[in-house]
């Protein structure tokens, strides 16, 4: 909803693209794609026409325009759906964008962001950061790349010398492609610290941890497309219509074929408007809601008993707890949902199988997020929905490559591909990297620090402000590098600014200077550098969509202005810091990654070689089979992939002769083995109805063989189709292979490598190849765990939010005890919660404040708020409040209000009065920044680089609260008061 319509001001010059445009497009339209456009494509019902043939004649008869016209195929950078785009480039200028109807993921469809992505290529009126800058005397001053590098490197080396590398914090990006993410993960380790993190921490860390601990991999189990095979979809914690609009293409198609759509949410969202059933739930009561549903499932005997017996561990314990604690009365008291509605939803789920539960940050960003996502998984397990087409946990990731960055990128607790930080993990990767392990160890403060998970992005400011004696590392954080990450996506903005006051060094590497620069300049006179990075449309590379499919982006245009690609910046900074050779694996006459000429003839690591390097090492999650050649063949031949199954029925790539038959689009990971064995990718995880070499799999055997005498492996007769072992089995290693008598099926070369190794560390891929040849999963065949005994709440438990609006429920459902050391720092739970109760915070702040996405913007929003076509659509930050709440406070629609929270911050935003939220709840979108408690921060941005639309960041005012397992921040439930401004 547009609250203000400013027609003037920063309007866009109409003629800015008119230059050199004459008829550029005739070449991009061939006869085949025309026919495709004009026919009804696929089940989803595409736009169609029947133009007179005379028109085609006109189009084809146009004379070829001047200048070289090329069409580059890329992928939208604004969410995890992975919509393909054909960019039309004339003489190096991005002049138009065309829909890719062939893409099985989006069939040409785009939301507001994807449909205007061409803005990234427009130099005129650009709000990009155009050259390196330095804060000097409170002013942003242009400097050269060399000067910036020299000064940054000098400072970093000084800090490292004085305080170890752990005094630096590296915030990477879910917007980097896989190659850059992977390189950054490695880069930070070569510098000598685990203090690195990225958006996944504050997006889906609870999902990744909670779900991986339940059944193996912490990712979306199926695809958006597979919803077309579903009978029921429960959206709980996802507003897909705004956050993942193109996914709704598949959802609504399923709905038209009879699938039920249920939305449970504190807000009546745009997604809810399309649902068969909407349930309003109090924010932060997710476990109670999910287990409230499970109560009815158990009570009515709707659970899938055979499935539970065969494939699930611990459901009996869950059942006992559910029946005792989550009675209809207790659930209504907590969630506000009456028994009849709970029963109705449970019945819909039970009667319409297979079904999905779908979530995004609505479930994850809570102080008990790990329990919430596991409760979702348990509900699906009880219904027998996981490990099949049409059912499971469709977990929608946020950024375009947050899945890939989670899998391969700069995580504080793991080397690439979830190998962790054990000595063996470093040994494995040092071998892949062609880096001397002893040299690597010396880069770190100590071997103990090497094995210790780093600080998280949600709390880096605490690592600056905390008493150093309480930190589990040598001193506090002194330097922070924001490399493609917004500051306004982290909670407790007031504290972040306090931390900025104390930093020795801040570096922002970003296409947009971002609110980080403005916040810093607001409180500091010097100590910061801004480096202009290229966007993902200015470099090639692979990107992993939410459904685990990898797509290859072609470079659309050269990096604009003085910007450089992220991997070039990584290499150049490594040169200054003295580990450039290690970064590209140059040792003993070998070099893992070759250098190629990038912008301005400067050296940069070859992207495809980086892909090949992670292909060589990422066995755990099957990032091994997706070679650059295979990915590129998929992108050239999107039309052969079926929309409902994602599978290629046939087809050969004309350029390389690669046979696409049987591949799933983008080879969704795990794509085990080397590219040569042609594993097709896994469209739906843990699907035992398919053969391993057909994308089938089992639940992972990652938690032992038995627990307290109870079997953890799958029961007899349960295995993926065609498996030579028809019962549960552990993960494969050289010993198991020998016991089974399969060892001699390895080639001599494979044997040499596989000796003493397991399926994760055998670089030949032989162990994986042979196990799959016998139809067996390399990672074993086990049960999913309904009870995750290694977590604080083995059985998920409802705990009231830290700032609860209901003190009487805090007494019954309290949060955790305070923790002395989690992720190198103390973290408070009960202290804060009980103080809020003692202070009667719920009386001063009687409304629940939650936050979320809107369709026009993405993430912290600096990039999208700089796009005039998007900016025009949302010109103000706003708060959604119920008509009653507004009327009681004398607030009218469109007026400014002050929103205050227990953090002490005050936000000045416009009121959007709507029944979409209940009288107890308010909602603020989280994409805004650039206002600070009522003040426009425009003077603090570098000139010409402030976003068009600025507004209050909701996270300036969000309060303390973290998930005990992952340090996910609580942003979805806090309390506030609203007053007329």
């Amino acid at each position: 909803m547009l609250l203000t319509r400013k027609a003037s001001g920063q309007a866009v010059a109409q003629s800015r693209l008119a230059r050199g445009l004459s008829g550029a497009l005739a070449k991009t339209m061939d006869r085949r794609s025309f026919l495709k456009r004009s026919g009804v494509t696929l089940g989803a019902g595409a736009v169609a026409s029947q133009l007179p043939f005379s028109m085609i004649g006109t189009a084809e008869a146009q004379s070829a325009p001047d200048g070289k016209v090329e069409v580059k195929r890329t992928v939208c950078t604004h969410c995890s759906v992975g919509c393909a785009i054909d960019a039309v480039v004339q003489n190096g200028v991005w002049v138009r964008q065309e829909p890719v109807f062939d893409s099985p993921i989006n069939l040409g469809a785009h939301c507001a962001k994807g449909a205007s992505i061409r803005e990234h290529g427009i130099a005129h009126d650009s709000h990009r950061l155009k050259y390196p800058m330095k804060l000097e005397g409170g002013k942003w001053k242009r400097v050269s790349w060399d000067q910036a590098y020299d000064e940054i490197a000098q400072k970093l080396l000084q800090i490292k010398k004085e305080s170890t590398a752990d005094a630096t914090f590296w915030i990477g990006s879910s917007k980097h492609n896989n190659e850059q993410s992977y390189l950054m993960c490695k880069w930070v380790r070569l510098f000598g610290t685990n203090n690195t993190d990225h958006q996944a921490r504050i997006c889906h860390s609870t999902t990744v941890s909670g779900i991986a601990n339940t059944w193996g991999y912490g990712a979306m189990t199926n695809s958006y497309n597979d919803e077309q095979n579903s009978k029921c979809m429960l959206f709980f914690g996802s507003n897909a219509a705004e956050a993942h609009p193109v996914s709704m293409l598949h959802t609504l198609h399923a709905k038209e074929n009879g699938a039920k759509v249920i939305v449970a949410d504190p807000r009546f969202t745009r997604t809810a408007a399309k649902a068969d059933k909407y349930v309003r739930v109090r924010s932060g009561t997710d476990v109670a809601f999910l287990f409230g549903l499970l109560y009815h499932v158990f009570k009515n005997g709707w659970e899938d008993k055979k499935y539970i017996h065969d494939r699930v561990y611990g459901m009996d314990k869950v059942k006992a707890e559910v029946m005792e604690k989550y009675t209809p009365a207790a659930v209504e008291a907590v969630t506000g949902v009456p028994e009849a509605e709970m029963y109705e939803v449970a019945k819909m789920l039970a009667e319409n199988r297979p079904g999905f539960i779908i979530w995004a940050m609505g479930q994850t960003q809570h102080s008990n997020g790990n329990a919430i996502v596991r409760a979702s998984a348990v509900l699906m397990l009880a219904l027998g929905n996981v490990g099949r087409s049409g059912g499971g946990c469709n977990i929608y990731r946020g950024h375009d490559n947050v899945q890939g960055a989670t899998d391969l990128g700069p995580n504080p607790d793991s080397l690439p591909a979830y190998y962790g930080l054990a000595p063996g993990s470093f040994a494995h990767w040092a071998r892949v990297w062609n880096v001397d392990l002893d040299w690597l160890k010396k880069q770190y403060a100590s071997e103990a620090m090497m094995a210790k998970p780093g600080i998280t992005v949600s709390r880096w400011h605490d690592a600056v402000l905390e008493n150093p004696d309480h930190l589990d590392q040598e001193g506090r954080i002194r330097a922070v590098i924001y490399w493609g990450h917004a500051p306004n996506s982290q909670s407790r903005g007031l504290d972040m600014v306090e931390a900025m006051k104390k930093l020795d060094l801040l570096v922002v590497v970003d296409p947009y200077p971002s609110a980080t620069a403005a916040m810093f300049a607001m409180v500091r006179k010097d100590g910061a550098y801004l480096l202009p990075a290229a966007t993902q449309l200015e470099c090639p590379g692979s990107v992993t969509a939410s459904n685990r499919s990898l797509q290859w982006r072609e470079k659309v245009i050269e990096p604009m202005f003085e910007s450089r690609t992220d991997h070039m910046i990584m290499y150049q900074l490594a040169q200054k810091l003295g580990f450039a050779d290690q970064l590209i694996g140059k040792k003993d006459g070998k070099q893992s990654i070759k250098l190629v000429k990038g912008k301005g003839g400067m050296d940069e690591p070859d992207i495809e070689d980086i892909t090949r390097e992670f292909n060589r090492g990422s066995w755990t999650i099957g990032y091994t089979g997706q070679s650059p050649e295979r990915m590129q063949a998929h992108m050239r031949n999107m039309h052969v992939f079926d929309v409902k199954t994602l599978r290629a029925k046939g087809g050969k790539d004309a350029k390389t002769g690669y046979d696409l038959t049987g591949d799933y689009f983008g080879m969704p990971w795990p794509c085990y083995g080397t590219a040569a064995i042609k594993h097709p990718g896994s469209p739906n995880l843990y699907d035992t109805t398919r053969h391993m070499m057909d994308g089938g799999n089992c639940f992972r055997a990652n938690f032992g063989i038995e627990k307290d005498g109870v079997n953890l492996l799958a029961e007899d007769g349960v295995a993926s189709k065609g498996s030579d072992i028809t019962t549960g089995y552990p993960e494969f290693d050289h010993v198991l292979l020998k016991k089974l008598g399969w060892w001699d099926e390895l080639t001599d070369e494979e044997k040499k490598e596989a000796e003493g190794k397991n399926w994760k560390t055998d670089l030949s891929g032989g162990i994986q190849r042979v196990s799959m040849k016998h139809g067996c999963s390399p990672f074993g065949n086990a049960k999913a765990r309904a009870v995750v005994w290694n977590f604080p709440d083995g059985v998920p438990l409802h705990r009231e939010p830290i700032y609860s609006p209901k003190p009487e429920l805090v007494a019954k459902w309290p949060t955790h005890d305070d923790q002395k050391n989690r992720w190198r720092m103390p973290v408070l739970f009960k202290t804060v919660q009980q103080k809020a109760v003692a202070d009667k915070a719920h009386e001063k702040f009687p409304l629940i404040l939650t936050s979320g996405r809107i369709v026009e913007y993405e993430g912290g929003g600096d990039e999208t708020r700089s796009n005039p076509w998007l900016a025009e659509l949302q010109q103000d930050c706003y708060i959604e409040i119920n008509p009653k709440t507004a009327a009681d406070r004398g607030v009218r629609h469109g007026e400014f209000v002050w929103v205050s929270t227990p953090s002490g911050a005050r936000l000045k935003v416009k009121a959007k009065v709507t029944e979409g939220v209940g009288p107890d709840t308010c909602f603020i979108p989280f994409h805004f920044a650039g206002w600070w408690q009522g003040q426009d921060m425009l003077p603090y941005y570098p000139e010409g680089a402030a976003p068009i639309v600025r507004g209050e960041a909701v996270n300036t005012a969000t309060t303390y609260g973290y998930d005990i397992v992952t340090m996910m921040q609580e942003t979805k439930t806090t309390i506030c008061q609203v007053a007329k401004a």
Binding site: M1, A11, L51, A59, A115, E872, V917
Partner: protein, 209 residues
């Protein structure tokens, strides 16, 4: 001969504004001029909220054409309603006549000061030579001349907005209605293309033309 029509399926429209920015970027439409916009009615009301994408509907019997004092409108052989900005005097009569609020003006002001009227062209340009720079500058892209459909409909995120030969989109929509077993009323269709009963007429079975 094809007869070009728009149809927005409210069961599918999610107000993602993809159509709006697709139009804006393809035609380089300035701030303040909205050839297409998405309207949500009953925002937040359970069971009643609907979104629809609205632009010039290229009416069969277009009221704008009927009232224009300088007769700047014309209709192409595909049924697309276009206008000649060289003739337009910015009087705003078309705006008052249009049931969809389609005509837009670059400036606010009294009679004659609003500037040349601008509206959706069904991505079919204007009277200038097809796909010329002059045509692009005044009217935006001429996609029909390239054998393409309007950018808004081609890029619609959920295929809610259909644009193209009226017979074909009626067929697509009819199939959806049959599959859903409900909801055959299409907002605006009757007003734009029907026999005069506003909003009442669902697409009829295709006739061979």
């Amino acid at each position: 001969m094809a007869r070009m029509k728009f149809l927005c399926d409210a069961e599918r429209c999610i107000e993602c504004n993809g159509c709006v920015t697709a139009c804006k970027q393809e035609n380089e439409v300035p701030w303040g001029v909205n050839r297409r916009r998405v309207v949500t009615i009953n925002d937040g009301v359970v069971g009643a909220e609907k979104s629809i994408s609205v632009a010039c509907m290229h009416c069969s019997d277009a009221p704008c054409m009927a009232v224009c004092p300088v007769d700047c409108f014309y209709k192409t052989e595909d049924g697309v309603v276009l206008h000649d900005k060289d003739l337009c005097i910015g009087c705003g009569y078309c705006f008052y006549a249009c049931p969809f609020g389609a005509p837009q003006f670059p400036q606010a002001g009294a009679f004659g000061l609003r500037g040349k009227m601008d509206k959706c062209t069904f991505c079919a340009g204007g009277p200038e030579t097809d796909r010329s720079e002059a045509e692009f500058t005044k009217y935006g892209r001429n996609r029909l001349a390239e054998g393409k459909l309007p950018a808004c409909a081609e890029m619609c995120s959920t295929k809610a907005l259909l644009g193209g030969d009226g017979d074909v989109i009626a067929d697509i929509y009819r199939e959806r209605v049959l599959r859903r077993g409900k909801g055959s009323e299409v907002w605006g269709w009757g007003t734009a293309y029907g026999p005069g009963r506003p909003g009442a007429t669902p697409p009829q079975p295709a006739r061979k033309s």
